[in-house]
C-alpha cells in the first residue's frame, strides 16, 4: 500500500541567513501509524512537520501526502487531509463558543450543513465536551481548552493528525485522557504524529519514533530500540522512562532487546517469567 506520507531526500534552507534546517530526510509513514517525533528546539522537527501541512515547501527533494506531491498544493488544499493541533490552544481558538469553534473547520472545507452538525456531535462525544458546548473557549480552563483545540481539527476529519506537545501543561488525569484519545484516533484509521517530549507518551503510546538532531533524522525505530541506545539518548538529552532505565540496568544480556521494558506492566510480565523459571 502507498505510504500516506512519503518524504524523498528532503532539504530545507530558510532564506534568511541561509540556515539549513533539514538535510537529506527520507522516510515513509504508513496509514494508521502512531509516531513520536523528538528532538531539541532547533533540531528541525517543526520544519519537518510544516512540510506535511504545506506551510513550507522543500528547497530540494519531495514530499507526498497520500500520493500527491505537495509542491503545488496550498495550505487550504491540504487542510482536509492533514490537521495540525498547536501546543498552545490559544493560537488556534477564536470563536465565541465551543460549538462555533467546532463548526468552523468543516464549514470552511465546504462540508454540507447537516454533515457539519453530525461531525460536531461526534466530536463532542469523542472528546467529552458536552458541558462546554455553549461556553466561550477562554472561559474554559487550560487542560480542557487544549482538548477543544484537538476537537476543532477532529471535525475536519483529516487522515493525518499532527499534535504538538499534546500533554504539556496537563495534569495526570487529562494526560491519561489524551493518551486514550490518541489511540482512539488511530483505531478509527487516522495516522497520528506527536511532536513530544513526554516520555510516557513516547514509551507507552507511540509505535515508532523519529529522532532529529542538527537538521537530520538520526534514528527511525521503535521506542524500545531508541530508549536502549545510550548514545542517541545522551546526545538528545533525553532520559528513558524510569522503569526502562531500571530494566536497562538489571538485564543480564545487554544485547537482548526483549529485556528492555517500556512500562510497569511489561516489567511485571518479565518478573513473572523469571519467577516461574526459578520454580522449575
Amino acid at each position: 500500500m502507498e505510504p500516506i506520507i512519503k518524504v524523498e531526500n528532503l532539504w530545507h534552507t530558510y532564506p534568511t541567513g541561509n540556515i539549513t534546517a533539514l538535510r537529506e530526510v527520507s522516510l515513509n509513514i504508513n496509514r494508521g501509524e502512531l509516531i513520536g517525533v523528538i528532538g531539541q528546539n532547533g533540531s528541525g522537527k517543526t520544519t519537518l512537520v510544516k512540510h506535511f501541512i504545506g506551510l513550507l515547501k522543500p528547497t530540494r527533494g519531495k514530499v507526498f501526502i497520500d500520493g500527491e506531491d505537495t509542491e503545488p498544493l496550498k495550505v487550504q488544499q491540504l487542510a482536509a487531509k492533514v490537521g495540525y493541533v498547536y501546543q498552545n490552544p490559544n493560537h488556534q481558538l477564536f470563536a465565541r463558543t465551543v460549538q462555533e469553534e467546532l463548526e468552523f473547520g468543516p464549514n470552511n472545507l465546504g462540508v454540507p450543513k447537516e454533515e457539519v452538525q453530525e461531525r460536531v456531535e461526534q466530536a463532542i462525544k469523542f472528546f467529552g465536551l458536552e458541558e462546554l458546548r455553549y461556553l466561550h473557549p477562554y472561559r474554559i480552563g487550560f487542560p480542557l481548552r487544549k482538548l477543544v483545540g484537538m476537537a476543532t481539527i477532529y471535525t475536519m476529519k483529516p487522515d493525518i493528525f499532527i499534535l504538538d506537545e499534546p500533554t504539556t501543561g496537563q495534569d495526570n488525569i487529562t494526560t491519561q485522557k489524551v493518551y486514550r484519545l490518541i489511540k482512539k484516533l488511530r483505531d478509527e484509521g487516522a495516522t497520528v504524529l506527536c511532536v513530544a517530549h513526554d516520555m510516557i507518551l513516547l514509551s507507552e503510546v507511540v509505535d515508532r519514533m523519529l529522532v532529529l538532531r542538527d537538521s537530520e533524522v538520526i534514528m527511525d525505530a521503535s521506542p524500545r530500540e531508541v530508549f536502549s541506545n545510550n548514545e542517541i539518548m545522551a546526545s538528545t538529552h533525553l532520559a528513558p522512562p524510569q522503569i526502562t532505565s531500571l530494566s536497562l540496568n538489571l538485564r543480564k544480556n545487554k544485547n537482548k532487546l526483549d529485556d528492555v521494558v517500556l512500562s510497569v506492566d511489561e516489567m511485571l510480565a518479565l518478573s513473572k517469567d523469571s519467577n516461574q523459571k526459578e520454580k522449575i
Binding site: N41, G141, P143, T168, G169, S271
Partner: protein
C-alpha cells in the same frame, strides 16, 4: 540541641479568591518548611498549589483580592503586614510561562528591573547581574533580547532575575512545562545547585514525579485545597493507593513495588524505593 525553627510557617490558612467563590482555593493549611528544604508540591490542576505558593511571598493576601484567614510567617515576618517589595527580597518567584514575566529590551535590564525598585546602586547592579547570569549559565548574554532566547534560557533568566534580589527562598510553579529536554535539565540542575551550594530553600510545583523523587527531600500532596500528605519522598510515595485514587502519578519504580506485592511476585517492604538508584539496589535479585 535547640529545636530547628521553620523559615516558612502556615498556621490554619484558608483563602477564598474574590468574586464570590464559595469554595476556598486552599483550606486549613498548616505547614512548616525548614531552611535548605527542597519541597516538591504535587497535585492536579486546581488542587491549590499556585495559591499556596503565592501566600509565601505575600502576593496573597496583599495584592490578590480575596478573603484570607490564618497566618503565614516567613523568616519571622507575618506576610499580612509586610510590604510585598520587602517580601520580594526574601522570596523569589518563577512561574510556568517565562514570557509572562519578561518585559525588558535586554537580559541585563530584565535583571536590573527588580533591583532598581529595591534601590540597589548602579555598581551593585552591574556586579550582581554578572554574578547571577554566571549562576544560571547565561554569562555573556547581557545585551541580548530576552525574547530571542530559547524557552530554557528564558526560564533561567527568570531565575536569575529572582536571584538578583538575593532571596533565601525560591518558589517555582511548574517551571519546566514550556521547555524542551535540555531546558528541563538546565532548570532542575540550577535549582538543585542553589539548594545544595547556597542552602536555598526551594519549593517547586511539578508534575514529573520521578524527577522530584530524585531532588526533593520533602513531598507535599495537595487535593482540593488541602494538604493530604507531607513527608519524605519515600514516605509519601509509599501511600500508593491514596495517590492513585487522587489521580496522581507515582514514580514507576514505586508503582512496580506495589504491584509486585499485589501479585505475590515478591514481598517489598515499605518504604518503597522512589529513585532509580535505590530501585536498582532493591530489585537486583528479582529479575
Amino acid at each position: 540541641m535547640s529545636e530547628k525553627k521553620p523559615v516558612i510557617e502556615f498556621k490554619d490558612v484558608t483563602f477564598w479568591h474574590g468574586g464570590g467563590n464559595e469554595k476556598p482555593a486552599i483550606k486549613n493549611i498548616n505547614l512548616k518548611i525548614y531552611e535548605g528544604d527542597y519541597v516538591a508540591l504535587l497535585g492536579l490542576n486546581g488542587a491549590g498549589k499556585t495559591t499556596l505558593q503565592l501566600c509565601i511571598n505575600g502576593v496573597i493576601p496583599n495584592s490578590i483580592m480575596g478573603d484570607f484567614e490564618g497566618e503565614v510567617i516567613v523568616y519571622g515576618k507575618d506576610t499580612y503586614d509586610t510590604p510585598v517589595r520587602e517580601m520580594a527580597k526574601m522570596v523569589g518567584m518563577v512561574f510556568d510561562n517565562p514570557e509572562f514575566q519578561l518585559s525588558q529590551m535586554s537580559v541585563a535590564e530584565e535583571i536590573a528591573l527588580g533591583m532598581e525598585s529595591l534601590g540597589f546602586s548602579y555598581d551593585e547592579m552591574v556586579e550582581t547581574i554578572t554574578e547571577v547570569l554566571d549562576i544560571v549559565g547565561l554569562q555573556g548574554l547581557e545585551e541580548r533580547s530576552p525574547f530571542g532566547l530559547s524557552g530554557g534560557q528564558q526560564q533561567r533568566l527568570s531565575i536569575a532575575a529572582a536571584l538578583a534580589m538575593e532571596p533565601k527562598i525560591l518558589v517555582m510553579d511548574e517551571p519546566t512545562s514550556n521547555v524542551d529536554p535540555i531546558g528541563k535539565e538546565e532548570i532542575f540542575s540550577v535549582a538543585a545547585q542553589l539548594n545544595r551550594e547556597k542552602n536555598m530553600t526551594v519549593i517547586m510545583a511539578e508534575h514529573e514525579v520521578e524527577v522530584m523523587a530524585a531532588y526533593a527531600n520533602i513531598v507535599i500532596v495537595m487535593h482540593e485545597g488541602e494538604i493530604l500528605l507531607n513527608g519524605t519522598p519515600e514516605e509519601v510515595f509509599s501511600n500508593v493507593e491514596l495517590i492513585q485514587k487522587l489521580g496522581l502519578r507515582l514514580p514507576q519504580v514505586t508503582e512496580y513495588a506495589h504491584r509486585l506485592n499485589q501479585l505475590n511476585l515478591a514481598s517489598i517492604k515499605k518504604p518503597y524505593p522512589v529513585t532509580l538508584n535505590s530501585a536498582i539496589e532493591r530489585y537486583k535479585d528479582i529479575l
